[in-house]
């Protein structure tokens, strides 16, 4: 590719990017899976790396005596990570191609960083799990798939990496493919794609591999660019958590009262009959404002301001839904919780809880079981959840939560738990049901 072609492509990408859509994906892998190399490769091949960044990485690689440019150095941010040569926190990366902008949540793979992976997966449309072709599926790759499934990441890609080190052998790939497909039947993975790649050599990352003519599926980049995510959102069940009451109190807008928030589900239209929870009062949508314009519809994830026809007492933490389609307010919450701090979660513990725009306190009533994320075994003998452990927990909250099952709506089905003394986020919850 000549320099000129490269530049034109990049300029075209630049001018198009205002209208392109967005894919958020999470990667997981350990030091040796070549995850950082793969991300470096995606950034490099999509021309998202600048000359000074590449030069810095080349210089560091040389000074360390490597034979090749270590693309992993592009993504290891914090100094302590560079020193230890591992990725310990979630890092966000950005690149764009002519069709899409991508946000990568790059997370560490080790079991002691499960909480970081849960964090990265929480906002992802797609999860990318890497395995080393020489080793096949490991406990780690299974765990990554389990976490992505628990977090309801709708699309999963299993990238079988380092195919160059197994002579691009189809049999090796097929064996891993079959084994993983078998394992995935136990999980909730609506869409799975398995791709043989070499991140180091670039096979099937952006360019189709000349070494693996037996593989007829898409390259990784092609799949990332084309996977359909628009239909992953719930456009049926209207959920609008009230975030902020807009009241100008100015002469010009004396009577204006609007409810600011981000649409969590469904499509809202002026004229719709709505119910405000938890009060149960009904009204009609008078108008939906987006800055100084009125819109005819609002859908996820738009941030808008909704005006109602009636002057109701609506405040932050309330939820606007449709009259015949509203969640049932509940103080008894059954949820999967990922615990994120050293001091274990125990029954009788009291915590602060934040669910959509609603804050309350929660009491841990029972820990039903701890889920072994490697084997899916449910340990019902457990009395507590330790750091990075995931389990099924019953909570009682001080006020009703206006929630849906997480499997139905990731926004109204999720919450965080906060230690009231330290203020630290200590748990992430995915609601099974309110009851």
């Amino acid at each position: 590719m000549s320099d000129l072609t490269t530049d034109l492509t990049k300029a075209e990408v630049a001018q198009e990017s205002r209208n392109m859509d967005l894919l958020r994906f999470a990667t997981a892998g350990s030091v040796d899976d070549g995850k950082s190399t793969l991300i470096g490769r995606l950034l490099l091949d999509s021309k998202s790396i600048f000359e000074d960044q590449l030069e810095a990485v080349e210089a560091t690689s040389q000074s360390k005596g490597y034979d090749y440019t270590d693309l992993a150095l592009l993504t290891d941010g914090l100094r302590s990570e560079r020193e230890q040569g591992i990725t310990i926190d979630v890092a966000y990366r950005y690149f764009a191609t002519p069709t899409r902008k991508f946000i990568i949540a790059d997370t560490p793979g080790h079991v002691q960083y499960t909480r970081n992976m849960v964090t990265g997966a929480s906002t992802a449309d797609l999860g990318l799990v890497l395995v080393d072709a020489r080793q096949g599926l490991t406990e780690q790759s299974r765990r990554h798939a389990v976490i992505l499934s628990l977090l309801r990441v709708p699309h999963l890609v299993l990238a079988v990496n380092k195919m160059d080190l197994v002579d691009y052998d189809q049999a090796v790939f097929e064996k891993i493919h079959a084994e993983f497909t078998q394992f995935a039947t136990k999980l909730n993975i609506p869409d799975l794609q398995v791709i043989p790649i070499s991140a180091l050599k670039g096979d099937n990352v952006v360019e189709r591999s000349a070494q693996m003519s037996w593989y007829s599926g898409p390259t990784l980049m092609h799949h990332l660019e084309n996977v359909h995510v628009a239909s992953d959102r719930d456009l049926v069940d209207v959920r609008f958590p009230v975030q902020y009451v807009v009241r100008p109190k100015s002469d010009e807008h004396h009577d204006y009262r609007g409810y600011g928030g981000m649409v969590a589900g469904g499509v809202l239209k002026p004229g719709d009959e709505v119910v405000v929870l938890p009060s149960g009062m009904t009204s009609k949508i008078a108008g939906i404002d987006l800055f100084d314009k009125e819109v005819t519809e609002a859908f996820p994830p738009m941030s808008v301001t909704v005006r109602l026809e009636d002057d109701l007492d609506v405040s932050r933490g309330d939820l606007i839904a449709r009259v015949n389609n509203a969640p049932k307010p509940s103080q008894d919450i059954d949820a999967m919780i990922c615990w994120m701090t050293n001091e274990p979660l125990r029954p009788r513990q009291k915590l602060a809880i934040k669910h959509t725009t609603r804050s309350a306190r929660a009491l841990v009533k029972d820990i039903q079981y701890r889920l072994d994320v490697n084997t899916l075994h449910r340990d019902q003998e457990t009395r507590e959840l330790g750091l990075n452990e995931i389990g099924r927990v019953q909570l009682r909250t001080t006020v009703p939560l206006l929630c849906d099952p997480y499997s139905k709506n990731r926004a109204t089905g999720s919450f965080i738990l906060i230690d009231e003394a330290t203020g630290v986020t200590v748990g992430a919850g995915m609601i099974n049901t309110g009851s």
């Binding site: 990408v13 630049a14 000074d52 100094r79 906002t123 902020y244 725009t357």
Partner: protein, 304 residues
């Protein structure tokens, strides 16, 4: 009314806008005393626009804080004043000069104004009793920023502890702080430089004129083109010449370099960035070049 979205898809720029508005509202709802840190640069102007949208038709419910280095470009100050006046926002200016006079920070003649800004800023936040400070940091700017949270906790010394950050999940932000602590809020974390330019173009909003191509007397120092100014006396061997330039970032004028450019419109700037070979900070910010971890060090101390 605007057109119906037949396929219920939001462009990535609309998604970024929606996410940022959500963050502004969340902070306004949960923090007692937020403040918007305004540097005069394009990123903080986009922040002003997002804040304007988040609360319209009400005024933005927090003041705007600017740290005046004493070495600011006059074009930037003019733009700041236009924005503040149009939004009817309250402006607080924290002056580095005054902080030096009051002994809050020490000017030893070697420390850059950007570094002296840190102490001045922390002092202004403390004096104002601000519990949340919006900043225009973007994660694509620099490796250390790639791991920073949208809500970035600062202890009572204003320090950031990168190894001990709170997990941040879904769009559920944890704003709990103790007395004397505060939170830095980065509503445009997920925007890239290109997104910022597209947004400025789309919204048709005012930015300081120095971002566009203009004639300026400049001289070369350490491989950068710096503006001729009383604050920045020429050293032996340096000569100033008039060139056609523009700035890619805005900061202390003694340290902020410009690039030769004919780009006098947003579209031309976007084309220029698209084929740029060097990141915006790498090209024009003397303060980031001292070490690979320069940004991380300054951030830990409480830099924006």
């Amino acid at each position: 009314m605007t057109a119906t979205h037949a396929d219920y898809r939001l462009s990535q720029l609309d998604q970024l806008e929606a996410e940022s508005i959500h963050i502004f509202r969340e902070v306004a709802a949960e923090f007692e005393k937020p403040v918007l840190m305004f540097s005069g640069g394009k990123d903080s102007i986009v922040m002003m626009r997002l804040a304007e949208k988040a609360f319209y038709p009400a005024k933005i419910p927090f003041p705007v804080l600017q740290v005046d280095t004493g070495y600011d470009f006059p074009e930037v100050i003019a733009c700041r004043d236009n924005w503040v006046n149009r939004l009817g926002a309250r402006l607080i200016v924290a002056s580095v000069e005054e902080a030096i006079k009051d002994g809050i920070v020490i000017d030893d003649g070697k420390t850059s104004r950007n570094r002296l800004q840190i102490g001045t800023l922390l002092n202004a936040l403390e004096e104002g009793g601000f519990t949340a400070a919006f900043g225009g940091g973007r994660r694509d700017e620099e490796k250390a920023r790639a791991k920073e949270r949208v809500y970035s906790h600062r202890d009572e010394f204003g320090q950031w502890d990168p190894k001990n950050q709170r997990p941040e999940l879904w769009s559920l932000y944890n704003g709990r702080i103790h007395e004397g602590e505060h939170m830095r809020i980065f509503p445009i974390s997920n925007w890239t430089e290109l997104d910022i330019w597209h947004y400025i173009g789309r919204e048709g909003i005012e930015i300081p004129s120095i971002y566009f191509s203009h004639q300026r007397r400049v001289f070369e120092r350490d491989g950068m083109l710096l503006t001729e100014s009383d604050y920045n006396p020429l050293r032996a061997g340096e000569t100033a010449t008039e060139r056609t330039v523009r700035f890619r970032t805005v900061g202390d004028l003694t340290l902020t370099g410009c690039v030769e450019s004919e780009a006098d419109t947003i579209d031309k700037i976007i084309d220029e960035i698209a084929i740029a070979r060097v990141t915006e900070r790498g090209a024009t910010r003397g303060d980031d070049r001292f070490s690979e971890a320069a940004m991380e060090d300054r951030k830990k101390e409480g830099y924006f």
